[in-house]
């Protein structure tokens, strides 16, 4: 029925099955939308946040998806600036995943604020000293870049491409994509960094606070770095999951291997820097503020924030995947590669959780106790909403747009096909 829209030379599942899939995911999306409207109408009392937990699940989700969306900027940087031509075979998908991540982040931010209708004050009345201002500006601008990068893909749809203007537009945009990518990389560097700065500058919160260079705490650089390392891992992870879901090979192993290798080395350097940062923070920064490392990890209810979290983040989800990814034998083993990128992705998510949630859970006043929090269903639903939205957008993009340049080559149509 929709064959006219499907790219040439590839096969897609029947429309009915596709729509059934969309309907299922759409139901989840709808659940999130209901929760979102509930929050818009009734206010943030629908969440389980409180005056001690001003930032909660959403901000974590925000930081996590942006870190994971970092695959777009870093792959773009490698492809357009450093000239890693092989990556052109995965750049489209990286851009799409980035687009999903960033649009989700903006959506979550729009739900998260107490006065959404005044949210534009962040731009108009901008306080340039606030990391959040930097986040907002760079995030919005970079989302613009991702949109610019995504538009040509849409324009390459078989039907749209038939229109001369659009075809030319897509071509021209491809032509100067390096300029956009460079700008994107610049913006990305600053907003990934400023997200790291969000907790790093809080000198009232010894757990989050880091010293650094000038106005930028170490976390500023660590965040950019970790996004550059874990973003590509997420791209690989989603590509693999897409391949599993479509039961097709979509990207050649060399491409994945190259990206994984680069991500691996990024991760190695990142985790080394992270360890140095942790040691310095534990030995110098925190004691100077009157805290010992173990103050941050003990006496919390149920050991929810025990030392295990540090070991899991740095060791299990940091050092381990880094070492795995730089080993060619691991990269060649599909399962181990999958495990490695999965761990790296979890590591990034865990890092963001620690820096936002644990940062607030740690009592600072000596007579206060740990603050614990569990999100309400409305928070969970609105956090899952972008996931559903992302799956739907990816599904549509995959079905109707030439996302994977190598798909036709890797999956030749049987005789008699289109």
């Amino acid at each position: 029925m929709d064959s006219a829209l499907i790219p040439k030379g590839v096969e897609r599942c029947p429309l009915g099955r596709f729509l059934a899939f969309i309907a299922i995911v759409g139901a989840v999306l709808l659940w999130g939308v209901v929760a979102m409207f509930l929050i818009y109408i009734k206010g943030l009392n629908q969440t389980n946040m409180n005056n001690a937990y001003g930032f909660a699940l959403w901000i974590w989700a925000d930081l996590a998806v942006i870190a994971l969306g970092g695959g777009a900027f870093f792959t773009g940087l490698l492809r357009y600036i450093f000239g890693k031509a092989e990556l052109k075979n995965i750049i489209n998908y990286a851009v799409l995943i980035g687009f999903v991540c960033y649009s989700s982040a903006l959506l979550i931010l729009a739900i998260d604020v107490g006065q959404p209708l005044r949210a534009w004050f962040i731009f108009w009345h901008a306080n340039v000293h606030s990391m959040l201002t930097e986040v907002a500006f760079c995030l919005t601008c970079y989302f613009g870049v991702l949109t610019i990068e995504y538009i040509p893909l849409i324009l390459e749809n078989r039907q749209i491409e038939r229109i001369s203007f659009f075809r030319h537009l897509a071509h021209n945009m491809h032509g100067i994509m390096a300029v956009f990518a460079a700008t994107g990389a610049f913006l990305s560097f600053f907003h990934q960094g400023s997200l790291g700065g969000v907790s790093g500058v809080l000198y009232g919160r010894p757990f989050g606070f880091r010293s650094g260079i000038g106005i930028w705490p170490w976390t500023f650089f660590l965040y950019t770095w970790s996004a550059a390392a874990c973003g590509p891992c997420f791209t690989i992870l989603v590509t693999r999951i897409t391949e599993m879901a479509t039961r097709k090979k979509l990207v050649k192993d060399e491409v994945i291997d190259l990206l994984a290798k680069i991500a691996g080395w990024m991760l190695v350097t990142y985790i080394a820097a992270k360890i140095v940062d942790t040691v310095y923070w534990a030995a110098v920064t925190a004691p100077a503020m009157g805290f010992t490392l173990m103050d941050f990890y003990t006496n919390n209810p149920g050991s929810a924030y025990g030392l295990w979290i540090l070991i899991a983040e740095v060791g299990l989800c940091g050092v381990l995947p880094a070492l795995m990814l730089i080993a060619p034998s691991v990269r060649r083993n599909a399962r181990l590669l999958f495990l490695a990128v999965l761990l790296a992705v979890l590591g990034a998510c865990l890092n963001r959780w620690v820096m936002i949630l644990q940062m607030q859970a740690v009592p600072v006043l000596p007579f206060e106790r740990w603050f614990t929090y569990f999100p309400s269903w409305q928070e969970i639903a609105t956090t899952i909403l972008p996931v559903a939205y992302g799956i739907i957008l990816i599904a549509f993009s995959y079905r109707y747009l030439p996302i994977f340049p190598q798909e036709a080559e890797l999956n030749p149509l049987p005789e008699g096909g289109r």
Binding site: F121, H125, N127, L132, P366
Partner: protein
């Protein structure tokens, strides 16, 4: 225009005098139009600019001791007014005023991102999770000098700035530009039946607050009075709320510096 000398308004709370009665909280609520709800027992969801903490020395019966610690906004000065919350506000909805040393806020500018709440180690910043609702008739007791905050914004103690505004107005009409110490007092200081709260200008050597704590203004206002301390001195927030106590354990409980060393 010649400007009056900069003030540094601050507070001294004598923890040995404070009885934890809550008059400061109630006076503050009445002065500043603090909303209340059917269930306000979850203090993490409740708005109260002044909160009285209950501190315990952690010893077993009968050596157990308790102390009450009223906590208004500390009006941190940080380094040159970069208090933890002020510098993080993305929309410049909160500010540090060098003329008074007060951390001020425009509620109508705030769009509720809550970054300042995450930044404040004292939990003085509170969010309006609900629309403020007064039972029929009780809104008549609202004070027009303080605007009522809508749902979705952060608020905190302002050192009763509206009382400063009205006091200044009165002075202007009388042709004066400077206020006497007693002309500008916060609602909590005025109400405290135990006389535990003293309020005034730390820059002014004649004011009681200055005389009591003897602040070392060259070093962020560190108290020279050995009985005085500030909450979390070591963070470098340079609060303008000082506490007095003769009890060692109270001092330790309020200040992580002495606590940990």
């Amino acid at each position: 225009m010649d400007q009056p000398k900069n003030k540094r308004y601050g507070m001294v709370i004598d923890l040995d005098k404070c009885t934890g009665c809550g008059a400061c909280m109630v006076a503050c609520m009445a002065e500043n139009n603090i909303p209340f709800r059917d269930d306000d027992t979850d203090k993490l969801l409740s708005v109260s600019w002044m909160h009285v903490y209950r501190l315990s020395n952690g010893k077993p019966f009968p050596q157990a001791e308790e102390c009450f610690l009223p906590r208004p906004c500390q009006h941190c000065e940080g380094e040159h007014g970069h208090s933890p919350c002020v510098s993080v506000c993305p929309a410049t909805a909160t500010d540090y005023d060098m003329h008074t040393g007060i951390v001020s806020q425009i509620y109508t500018r705030c769009f509720g991102c809550r970054y300042c709440m995450a930044a404040c180690p004292y939990h003085v910043r509170q969010f309006n999770w609900w629309d403020p609702v007064w039972p029929e008739g009780m809104e008549r007791a609202l004070n027009p000098d303080v605007s009522v905050r809508m749902r979705g914004v952060v608020e905190k103690c302002s050192f009763c700035y509206s009382r400063y505004q009205t006091a200044l107005n009165r002075a202007y009409v009388e042709g004066r530009r400077e206020l006497a110490e007693e002309e500008y007092q916060t609602a909590c200081a005025q109400a405290c039946p135990a006389g535990a709260i003293v309020f005034g200008d730390l820059n002014n050597p004649r004011h009681r607050v200055h005389r009591i704590v003897q602040p070392d203004l060259a070093h962020g206002g560190r108290p020279r009075n050995p009985k005085a301390f500030r909450l979390l001195e070591r963070l470098g927030t340079h609060p303008k709320v000082y506490y007095l106590t003769g009890r060692d354990w109270v001092r330790r409980a309020g200040d992580n510096e002495v606590q940990k060393s």
